[in-house]
Amino acid sequence: MNGADAIIKCLEEEKVKYVFGYPGVAICPFYNSILSSDIKTVLVRTEQSAAHMASGLARTTGTVGVCAVTSGPGATNLLTGIATAFADSIPLVCITGQVNSSLLGSDVFQEADVTGAAESFVKYSYLIKNVNDIPRIMKEAFHIASTGRKGPVLIDVPIDIQNAVIKNFKYPEEVNMRTYKPTVKGNGMQLKRLVSALEKAKRPLICVGGGVALSNAESELRKFVEKSNIPVVSTMMGIGAMPTEHPLYFGMVGNNGKPYANKAIRECDTLLMVGARVADRAVNQPDFLTDHKVMIHMDVDPAEIGKNIGPTIPIVGDAKAIFEELNKEDINASEPEWLNKLYEYKKELNIKRFPDSKYVDPQEFIEYLSDKMDEDGIYVADVGQNQIWSCAYHVVKKGRFLTSGGMGTMGYSIPAALGAKLANPGKQVIAVCGDGSFQMSMCELATIKQENANVKIIVFKNGYLGMVREYQHFTYKDNYSVVELNDYPDLEALAKAYDFDYFKVTLDKELSRTDKFLASDNPGIMEVNINPMDIVKG
């Protein structure tokens, strides 16, 4: 057994089903060994997509996503994908081939110091120097990636280590890391303070972030909310933690959020933040939140608490474990007056849109799509105006809403959707992007066909990098700079080239074409012509 065989054996022990990646000489021993395993490999078209696919798989299964690429450019291409996963705390194990360990540091062909380059956006990284360390390192890597605040772990494996003979392979049953022991259960004293603060509150509110989905705490959260009757808002990453049409859910906060959600956050007197970073897009004036409010911050990462906002009550722990604990008690924080006020706001405060009848209105389209989607379908939003509209108008029922919230990586949706589809073959998976973000990942159309995966891709076509154009509209008084895309590619011809279905809607009255697009057994591209001058700000 050599090092590469050992790595594959470890992946099998971790019940890994898919490895996304791209071979090259430095990772060839790995790809040779994987041939004798049941683990499926997916050849991507550019390495960044491998990390996004692993992310789509990880987010929809609650397991660790795995990708494996070669040294040098393979590894550096992967970096944006790793950084994207890090920003959203997605558990990945990324394996990179490396040049012969005796040549490390001598700038040989395809050598890049990837552990150094990725240092600031991995949860941890390893450069394996001894083949006998492989079982321990693999065990630790999966443990680190999937516990506490999740995140990507990078393992750089020189080719001679992959080829070296390993004696007495034994996959450790337990991790023994002296230095890494995340807190899961909330401190009992702090939980008592939380309960009493919520009971005393006149206008309590819960704001949920991506941490809820990451700890798989959706049902515990909903139970808590329904028992206590406390209204909920969410950050972008928290979309889907509550069903969109739940009577106690009041939308996404932030500078691209619902006005009534922001009003709720301003007017509440007690705010429970759950698994949210309180970053600038969600809360642009953190100080404002702490003035005259009781602020409770629950997060599995103690360093998040107090980073952007100084809470009155800090609670370190895993959301699922904490809500399970909280659900043992009865909390009555019901304040009908406050809820009624929020219902009024929800009715009154809405972004006014001025749709142009010559085009498809993105709101109309997304609402129609949501209505026609399977209840448990997976909606993957890309980055740009399309993302903001998706956040605003997609109705999550029992499915998932995935997007690159922290890093805002364009091109995320298509590979993430493929990863999600392979992991959930029975579920409908739809990627929604703009013509800018589509072109960043359109090489993966071939991968979708290669995997025979029925991924649906919706392209909002407006011939612009719409989000930046909108920013230039407001900030630079319509001085548009480097934001105009020409009319290419011809999506119909492209769909034909890749053997995808092709549908197009140019007017609202054609929306019903979506039905056929969704029903087809073949992957498809749907082109949606929208007004190039449309704005999300209203």
Partner: protein
């Protein structure tokens, strides 16, 4: 701005020092000095970092450092409850006519003369940072050719302040 001395016990892994210094530089934290050396148990390294910032920053430093996988323990070495020492090597220009003056200042500070050349003296001085600063101030009348300071190492006082390693 407050000054704080952190004592870290970290796993003695390759790259651990760069992980810690990288964290400080990318998050914009100050490092006034950093020293590292193996502990009584070779599995671990003890790192002493002198840093400064307001209370929020210092709290974040402690949390972010604690979050690093390699960091076993972090604590603040409070001045009232700890000892700090720094070593300084100072090469002073000193010839026959003024050599004696330098030697008497060194004597007062209990510093050692560890090298004498025709035109130079090298002085070795150990103490807390204030002592070394005070000594350098007294040498202002002389020409300091080279100065090497190690940064401080520190330990908490007494049996209560021992970090036991597993």
């Amino acid at each position: 701005m407050k000054r704080k001395v952190f004592q870290l016990i970290v796993d003695n892994t390759s790259g651990v020092l760069s992980r810690i210094s990288g964290l400080f530089s990318r998050r914009g934290y100050n490092i006034e000095s950093i020293t590292a050396g193996v502990t009584a148990d070779p599995k671990y390294t003890r790192i002493t970092i002198v840093t400064s910032g307001d209370n929020d920053v210092l709290e974040q430093i402690e949390k972010q450092v604690a979050k690093l996988i390699d960091v076993r323990d972090i604590k603040v070495l409070e001045p009232s409850n700890s000892v700090y020492r720094e070593l300084a090597l100072i090469k002073v220009k000193a010839e026959a006519n003024n050599r004696q003056g330098v030697i008497s200042i060194a004597d007062i500070f209990r510093a050692n003369i560890i090298d004498v050349g025709p035109k130079t003296l090298i002085i070795e001085l150990t103490g807390d940072q204030e002592k070394i600063d005070a000594f350098l101030k007294l040498l202002e009348g002389y020409e300091i050719l080279e100065l090497a300071r190690t940064g401080i190492a520190g330990l908490g006082r007494g049996i209560e302040n021992v970090t036991y390693l597993p």
